[in-house]
């Protein structure tokens, strides 16, 4: 769908060869999965639980400001770990091979208002299969934003920087609404659909439990520290939401990432599917701690190529994947978090306005594509 296709120089044979090379990378990791990987995820899960326990313990005394600060920081990190490195990846089936029913995509539930089975459908199935295909992948702007010139402009898009900010603050609710396809289902017919009603009920139950825990029970347990604890859990949720929203924006929104049109994926081969994942995702560069806190979604390109490989392996896979990008002369979109977040937000602002010339790409966009 791009004006200048950055993959135009590749022949069909080359694309299939690229697919085989990627398959080989995948097979190698699968053959090498073992005890060390299992020990890794168990250690992360145990650390997350201990951190959450200790942080909530400290928050019982949160009327004492240093305790508030410490507890809030700890709880924020614990919530981020739960959602990113643990929840997201377990729900992808990355650890199903261990055959441990307690760390399995079919049994895992996370600290998030979207029930895991609904999220698995919209994320694993729709987003990962149809990555960046306009009209198929609702992650492109979450149905509330315009993120590509080729999407039709509507005056409502003028407000999208604001929607995006609100979405960032209450991201888990945004995701729950998104998984429910709330926009589509709020009409009369959708509201009466028994399947939608059942799913909405499940979300309601999950929200009630989560809210009760964070905003009623734990503050009550704190007794005289009721209000500070309430503020702390609210802050931790806010921090977690803004963080995960930022990381996720960096995955597909920064400049240089391609989007695709529906007909381009008709009869798509495995090689072409891989190529679409490569061109439709962007990475975040940074330290080990940075990769960990993003749930290794900083290796978004590798994650999209191999969504079911254990997250702790993406770093080593990235070296090989990047070499393939170079070999096939493709642009590996990556950068530090602030740069990528800025790039994504700039796009949100830019596309809130109509295209300068309808149907023609803005010059800077065209330049980037040529560079690619």
């Amino acid at each position: 769908m791009t004006a200048i296709d950055p993959t135009a120089h590749l022949t069909a044979t080359q694309i299939e060869e690229l697919g085989r090379e990627l398959d080989a990378i995948r097979d190698e990791v699968i053959a090498g999965r073992g005890e060390k990987d299992a020990a890794y995820i168990r250690k992360v899960i145990a650390a997350q639980r201990k951190l959450e326990l200790v942080s909530r313990g400290v928050l019982l005394f949160s009327s004492f400001p240093p305790a508030w600060l410490l507890g809030t920081a700890g709880l924020s990190v614990a919530k981020i770990m739960d959602n990113m490195e643990i929840g997201h990846n377990v729900l992808h089936g990355q650890w199903d091979w261990m055959r441990d029913p307690k760390i399995h995509s079919t049994t895992w539930e996370w600290d998030h208002v979207s029930p895991s089975d609904q999220w698995k459908h919209s994320h694993n199935e729709l987003h990962h299969t149809y990555t960046n295909v306009i009209g198929k992948d609702n992650d492109l702007g979450y149905g509330i934003m315009r993120v590509d010139e080729d999407q039709k402009w509507h005056p409502l898009h003028l407000g999208q920087p604001l929607w995006n900010f609100i979405n960032a603050c209450f991201f888990e609710y945004g995701i729950a609404a998104y998984d429910l396809e709330l926009g589509k289902n709020l009409n009369k017919r959708g509201r009466k659909n028994p399947e939608f009603r059942a799913r909405a009920k499940a979300v309601g139950r999950k929200i009630r439990k989560q809210v009760l825990k964070d905003y009623v029970i734990h503050p009550l347990l704190s007794g005289p520290s009721f209000l500070p604890t309430l503020g702390a859990t609210f802050t931790a949720n806010l921090v977690r939401n803004i963080w995960s929203h930022s990381v996720i924006m960096c995955g597909h929104f920064p400049e240089g990432v391609q989007v695709f049109e529906r007909r381009s994926i008709k009869g798509e081969t495995r090689g072409q599917w891989y190529l679409r994942q490569m061109m439709g995702s962007a990475n975040i560069s940074g330290s080990k701690a940075m990769h960990f806190m993003t749930g290794n979604l900083s290796h978004q390109i590798e994650h999209h190529l191999f969504p079911d490989l254990p997250s702790n392996r993406y770093a080593e896979v990235a070296v090989k994947v990047r070499a393939l990008f170079e070999k096939y002369e493709l642009e590996y979109v990556t950068g530090p978090l602030p740069k990528q977040v800025f790039s994504a937000w700039r796009k949100v602002f830019r596309l809130s306005l109509p295209n300068k010339k309808p149907g023609v790409r803005t010059p800077d966009r065209a330049r980037e594509l040529v560079a690619a």
Binding site: D23, D27, I30, R33, G34, E35, K36, D37, A38, A39, A46, R49, K50, L53, H92, G93, D96, W97, M98, R99, D100, P101, K102, H104, S105, T106, E109, W110, D111, K120, H121, N124, E125, H128, T129, K206, K209, Q210, L212, K213, I217, H218, L221, W273, P307, D308
Partner: protein, 351 residues
Amino acid sequence: MTSTALRSRAWKLLEMVTTPLLPSDYLDLVSPLRAGADLRGRIEAVHPETDDAATLVIRPGRGWRGHTAGQYVRIGVDVDGVRLWRAYSLTSPTDRRDGRVTITVKAIPDGKVSNHLVRSARPGTLIQLDQPTGDFVLPRAKPAKVLYLTAGSGITPVMGMLRDTEFDDVVMVHCAPRPQDVIFRDELHARAGDEKLRLTEVHTDTDGMLDIARLDALVPDWTERETWACGPAGLLDAAEKHWSDHGVPERLHTERFRPSVVVTGDGGEVTFSATGKTVDADGATPLLDVGEEAGVLMPSGCRMGICFGCVTPLKTGAVRDLRTGEITEAEPGVLIQTCVSAAAGPCDIER
């Protein structure tokens, strides 16, 4: 309010505190063997018995209900990060003071779990346990005369019996390739020295396989003895025939170790047990397509192996991953991705 009701209220409240996890998820961090936890055990020691057999001393969790001599236990152990379940006979007496139990494992060629337990198991490791089970046990009323007929690792359940209950007149005929392959040899000889046991070792490398007809010579009064036999299928088949032919089949109790022999191939008969449908499948068609074609309601998603929306229990048989060629055999708790798996021989998919 009764105390049970009170406790269940308190537990419900605790669940609200820990949601979406359970209180047990946190308790497991500090006390995985506590009462009320999923049944687990901790390996406390590993004692080599022969070159390829070892005894594991296990402290079971508080929920352990105890065993009867001769029974076996299923254990779930992580080998290369993958949890695998196998059954092993308990070799400890039932009244062991320290509450530990033992299993004795013989490494079989290419056996993933047995080799791991014999050669790589480390004290301190947590394993999963089931409650002990099996009806290869001693009767309440003591028989006057007993014969134990065993071969190879078939000695393990019998050792549990031998250590548990003393009889006045016990004969054991045990087969192993060479003297050094006899598991528990020192203990058996010590018992024989104390005249608590009459022991005959058959060394099959030099003596050849035990011909059941030789029993008349080895144990002349075998028809009068209550007999417990455990060993390879060939020995047990011959024994069952022999006891039947002599009109005393009720005197013989056998235990067969059933290593699940899975027939693998290219394609095979696929059974959808919940729906009650059976169809033939080739080795290249994903089981998701096979099921849908047969009118079975199959969960599905991306249809390319990435979303894990189609995972379904594999009850019996084997399947091949169409991407890697890897074979997965049925075991309790094994789930497969039906969209990228094809039949590798007959199999049963729980749909």
